[in-house]
Amino acid sequence: MSWYRPADVGFSARQTLAEWGHGARMLLHLFTLFGASFKRFRLVRDQVFFLGNHSLAIISVSGLFVGFVLGLQGYYSLQRYASSEAVGLLVALSLVRELGPVITALLFAGRAGTSLTAEIGLMKAGEQLSAMEMMAVDPVQRILAPRFWGGVIAMPLLAAVFSAVGILGGYVVAVLLIGIDSGAFWSQMQGGVDVWSDVGNGVIKSVVFGIAVTFIALLQGYEAQATPEGVSRATTRTVVVSSLSVLGLDFVLTVMMFSI
């Protein structure tokens, strides 16, 4: 591939476009399989168990520590303006609006996305997916769709757990450790956090991130080269691509939510 030879440029452009088109069709296909997946809810449930329950530990521990750090750092900068009571508001707003969905999505990509990619990549390498097609079973419907919807269900719940645990962590540091008045901590938070424009936007973000991360993980696994090397590359790409797209999407969503 060299950029000055028109044939190469054309080939790579066509290849990229084909990949995008394939991805878009796959996403549409997954969305249309909503009903079919929920008809066999057992499959989705097992994926929620695998993606959600097993991520709960890492999510809640990270949330707790992010809350601790936000409490301390927020106190450090707010006490200069003699408004250290607002630390509750700062912790809640930054968690609910931004850090909760984003960090959860990044952790989710690392914890659950990679395992999805590796699983599906190995299924492909072992020709299990081809075998299913031979038996007239649609692998997208039987394998990908339950994982997709499992991830989309699990991700907002995990983000909410992250934010809630983080707020409790901020409470521990600000009230129990530093000694800010507990009533002021909660009332400042309740005065400044809006249910729809803050909590609601956070939930919307986490749903979008759940779709993005799970879809990227599945697509990378499905499109992986059927070799050990190909699977390892696909797993790496899952983390890189989904982290970058989470951060990019986060910016886009934040801009959109600001302008509304």
Binding site: A92, L157, A160, V161, A164, W186, V193, D194, V195
Partner: protein, 168 residues
């Protein structure tokens, strides 16, 4: 459909997640305090609303009795037209007066409503006439400086103002 061991754990996970969303909505955003009861809307015109925003509180004696519904500009009188949604359970006399106040030194602004003496009460669609604008810090400072300059007119303006400020 078969039941399995996972059911319990998935159920618990979903319940924990829902509880977290509920916690965020109730504890951090205080959904319960949002009144779902009916309100009535009155309008008022202010010369200057300062930093008042929609959804700001309307307080009487420090208690929240309503919210600012919307703020628009009236290009006939060049005033700000503020629509207030007051909770139906509170009634105020027709000649109540409105003030734009600030909570704390640099806190957010809210509308204070002071009850008048009229026996008739406000109903939906009424318009309040006695309003007091927000205090704009720049106007206060320029007024203060103007008075200072008028007091000590002989000293050069460039260095006298900060020096006299320090002595005080």
């Amino acid at each position: 459909m078969q039941r399995s061991r996972n059911d319990v754990w998935v159920g618990l996970f979903v319940m924990v997640g829902m509880a977290a969303i509920l916690f965020l909505a109730l504890k951090s955003a205080n959904l319960l305090s949002l009144s779902f009861q009916s309100d009535y809307k009155v309008t008022a015109k202010f010369d200057n609303i300062g930093g008042l925003k929609p959804k700001a509180a309307v307080k009487s004696a420090g208690v929240v009795v309503g919210r600012v519904e919307s703020i628009t500009f009236d290009d006939k009188t060049f005033q700000a037209k503020v629509t207030l949604a007051l909770e139906s359970r509170y009634a105020f006399p027709k000649d109540s007066s409105l003030k734009i106040l600030t909570s704390g030194l640099l806190g957010e602004q809210y509308v204070g409503i002071e009850a008048g003496a009229d026996e008739k009460v406000l109903v939906a669609g009424d318009s309040l006439s006695s309003t007091q604008s927000a205090v704009v810090l720049e106007n206060l400072i320029s007024q203060f400086l103007f008075n200072k300059a008028a007091e000590g007119g002989n000293a050069p303006a460039g260095n006298s103002t900060p020096a006299s400020g320090k002595k005080k």
